[in-house]
Amino acid sequence: MNGIHGDRWYRGISAIACAAVVIAGCASIPAPTEQMAVSRSALANAASAGGAEYAPVEMRAAQEKMDRASRAMDKEEYENARRLAEEAQADARLAEKKAQSAKAQVAASVTQDDLRVLREEINRKNK
């Protein structure tokens, strides 16, 4: 609807309104301590699953994001901290899954080799 204000005015007001919404949002969110704990645990699991060896990129990303989340927590940027911690958790879980999957693949190929050897032995006996 046509108001008395120009375009530039509306754009400026929108920016301020968005910021107001953001600031309003920030002010009401609690500290994501639970998320931080969950993410730290996921990182530890990933490390013990061998994530450093099998998924170094994901492990580094997870660690880095946890560090930024901690700093965000210190600055009370709780929304930011929560998002960083969530991403760190996802990275850590991915690292963990990659490590587990890689190990399972190795075991599977070993057993396939064993099976092949067994079959060859049996065929040789039957000749």
Binding site: S14, E86, E87, D114
Partner: protein, 351 residues
Amino acid sequence: MKNHRFAMSLLAAAVLAACSTLPASDSPLAQARSDYSSAQSDLQIASLAPNELRQAGDSLDKANRASSKGESSVVVDHLAYVTKQQVAIARETAGQKAAELAVANASAERDRVRLDARTRDADTAQRSAEYSQRQSEAAQRSAEYAQRQSEASQRNADASQLRSEASQRSAEASQLSAEASQRQASTERQAANDAQLNTMAARQQTQDAESRSRRLEAQLKEMEAKKTERGMVITLSDVLFDTNRAQLRSGGVRDVQKLADFFKQYPQRNVMIEGFTDSTGSNSSNQDLSDKRAQSVRTALLDKGVGADRITWRGYGEAYPVASNDTAAGRQQNRRVEIVVSDDGGTIAPR
């Protein structure tokens, strides 16, 4: 009232501002949607990691709602990022599960392969056992057959034994007959020898006979014997007798001696003495003279040792002249004694 409208329009503007832009194709949300879509259509991920996939789907819903609500790119990008990582988690989880299944299957597969092998071995053993069974049955039948064969052979052997004994006896018989043949052969050889000797003797005899015969011929020739149909004839002439008498002169005696020797040499020859006169004088006196002259020769032969059974005599008087009685010479020729020598068998054909 101006404030309410102001806030409302701001809000509407914000929503419009957010809704009016679709996410760019390379934006995090677009990538997250694409990732999720791929994973959702992946059968392995859908079946092996359904929970992880659903979690990613929930995150994508949140991201889409945030995007359509016009939330800031920080929020939307964050949710898109989480979605993307969760899709990757689902993918990795599916891979892990698949590998674990392969490991579990491998163990079952190993057991199945081993079981197959044992089953095959058992089947092979079964077939071997059946084969051995049939073999042993065949061997059994072979043994029975061999048994019968050996019994038959035994009977054959016994028969052969008997035959060999029979052969033995026949061989002995042959031996005996061979010995008999040998003896017979030696007998025959002996006989042959004897026959040969006989032949030689006979040949000798023949030769002797021939030589005798030649001597006989010679002698007869010497005595001027003539060959006639009746045999050899030796004529003792008139001059060998005293005239008109039957007494032999010495010449006649010598001739008769030769005759006697001849007849002693050839004992199988007989002699017929026939006396003849000429026609001078009477028939009766001629007959008598011819008889006496014949007898005289006979007596002389007897004296010389010739057997009486060999000598026959006959007087013919003036019959059978050999020359004309009209001349003295003829008449002398007619006055004769003929000695007929028989053949080998002693036969003299009658006149």
